[in-house]
Symmetry: C2
């Protein structure tokens, strides 16, 4: 019998905590992004839920958070065990390739051979054990030189998620469920989504990536050599007194691009990407319909109420109410309603219109009303 | 040719300004009743609109307002030309018989033979000329000893109003359109309302009464001798130093009853009541659906926005928004919605549910949450 090895011994978690969550306005704001809210009723923020899910895998001293300077205090308050050297502050948002790539470049210098796993700060996963099993397979695949992602077995024809079309099985020690990736599919229409759920060959794209840091960086370099050069310049200076000067010089010029385009799609095309099917609950809590669903357990007859000290008086109403103002909120005869009540802005819409909230945010930006964004 | 006589020479207007307007919560409150709001977009309160409609009939020195002590300052601010002797303050609400009856009892002592007309402080009538014509006929009928009411020719099968079933024509000099009253009908169902509009024999009950003060008081006395005795005791003391003591003693024991039951129905049964059909617009602005209708001109595609400094961003939404909080209000894809946004309470419902708002107020009362009432 072979000696048992900790499957996560060379594993490091990275939490990019950057997105505001525009579809959750006016709850999510530039100064109160989605990951700093409790959207599940767990009693703690999504960021803290994420931390609690990852620490059992890598240990608290092996979780790195990449976030904006403005959120440093809030992040440190949420994660008191987060070490100073595990906080990477962005001077301005540069999307996920820069965030995850910089973390990988810093970590590989500290620990050659390190495997990094990137997990969004604002997704919901409740089944920590099943999650751990999938990540474990992803780490095994990464150790074998692959870039691994985790796809979630879809439970309904969701139109708000991207999908991964599975390819052939790939034999990897420790990753018995790994398969190749035939294609990434953007948010589909309902007919396509129903087909994807039915054919058993599509998974939700959870946006999780696990790879050896050097493999990840090589892939970024093949997609965008300048971006990789910038990340390397930053990482070389990161743990030195030159960090501030180099950040000021390099950061503004980093390409702003999602890791889907620099890593996931090209790696899939090159046969370097594998997907581990995950049989756990997952939600990116992308809009208020998602929040309503999370809280109602799928029952259409429910009214979900979020917010400390919420005072809601509802009659014959369903949907979701998020109360942040302390005011009394009264609903009468409104179905699938979304009411988000904050001190300076109020949103009233329906779950069916939840995806359109971003358009309001865009309109507010255009009209210069950034005081409420 | 007979000498022309001012048809309103012996006429005195009474404005009972008492009702809170529970169906307009949380806009209308105990400390901000319906008559103190601008619900028409005229730029002034309903009370002021009422004053402006009545002064051309009776003169500013012949309009009496009966209101609660708590509203004295607000009423006087709205009506700077209202004389001190024309303000009757109720120590507690005792419904319309006490309010109108006391005004009549006070006025008949000052001016025997006076004709009083009672007009709600919070109804909307825009066609002042047609209104004046109808009141003029009502005054003529009152002078002939009748109690007159004004019924409004219905323009739609409204279920929120009471109806008057007309009887036979009654010959009265100066009141060529006067007819008897066959019956009062409470708020009907839709089928009945449609029949009433179609048969040409029903009018909306506008709750306006015109009668010689002595005739009105006699009718009250026949319905409730104790109530009349109380009103007379109050009126005897009103213009004397004893007013305060008598109010303290008598007021708490006055019967709380609507004038419909003490005057209108028994007078109709006795053949003493006539109705003048009024061909003017009229609305009691009884609920938020009524406000939406007043502002949309009947167009279902409109979103009515009320409130100074309202900041509303609406996409594919219809109904009515009333903004009193100064917050940004965003609506997306909500139809026939009612949003009432005040600093301490928010209401979200639909125009179809507008009549149910009162139930919320009742529930709040029962649960002791009177801070928002």
């Amino acid at each position: 019998m072979a000696p048992s090895v900790d499957p996560f011994s060379d594993f490091y978690c990275v939490i990019p905590a950057g997105g505001i969550g525009s579809r959750l306005w006016p709850l999510s704001r530039a100064d109160a992004p989605k990951f700093l809210h409790d959207l599940t009723g767990s009693g703690q923020t999504l960021l803290r839920d994420t931390w609690d899910r990852l620490v059992p895998l890598s240990g608290a001293d092996r979780v790195m958070v990449v976030t904006g300077r403005a959120h440093r205090a809030a992040v440190e308050e949420q994660l008191p065990d987060l070490g100073d050297s595990n906080v990477v502050l962005e001077s301005e948002p540069k999307d996920s390739t820069a965030a995850i790539g910089l973390a990988a470049a810093i970590l590989v210098r500290r620990e050659p051979g390190v495997i990094v796993g990137s997990f969004a700060a604002d997704h919901v996963i409740r089944d920590g054990r099943a999650f751990r099993r999938s990540v474990s397979e992803g780490v095994a695949a990464a150790r074998a030189g692959y870039i691994a992602t985790i796809g979630i077995t879809p439970t309904e024809p969701a139109m708000g998620f991207g999908y991964i079309q599975c390819g052939d099985a790939i034999a990897i020690a420790g990753a018995p469920h790994a398969v190749g990736v035939a294609a990434f599919v953007e948010k589909p229409d309902l007919a396509s989504a129903e087909r994807y759920v039915g054919d058993g060959n599509h998974l939700w794209n959870g946006g999780m990536f696990i790879a050896r840091a050097d493999v990840l960086l090589k892939q970024i370099g093949e997609s965008d050599p300048d971006l990789l050069a910038g990340l390397n310049e930053l990482a070389d200076a990161w743990d030195t007194p030159r960090r501030g000067a180099v950040v000021d010089h390099v950061w503004p010029n980093l390409t702003k691009i999602a890791i889907d385009y620099t890593v996931a799609e090209p790696a899939a095309a090159a046969g370097l990407l594998v997907v581990i099917p995950g049989d756990f609950d997952w939600d990116d809590v992308g809009d208020f319909a998602s929040i309503a669903k999370l809280h109602s357990g799928g029952r259409k007859s429910d009214l979900a109420i979020l917010g400390e000290n919420a005072r809601v008086l509802a009659d014959a109403s369903t949907g979701v109410v998020i109360s942040q103002s302390g005011r009394l909120i009264s609903l009468i005869g409104v179905s699938d309603i979304v009411v988000v009540d904050t001190p300076d802005a109020l949103l009233v819409t329906t779950t069916a219109n939840a995806q359109r909230v971003k358009a309001v945010v865009d309109a507010l930006k255009l009209s210069g009303r950034t005081d409420v964004l």
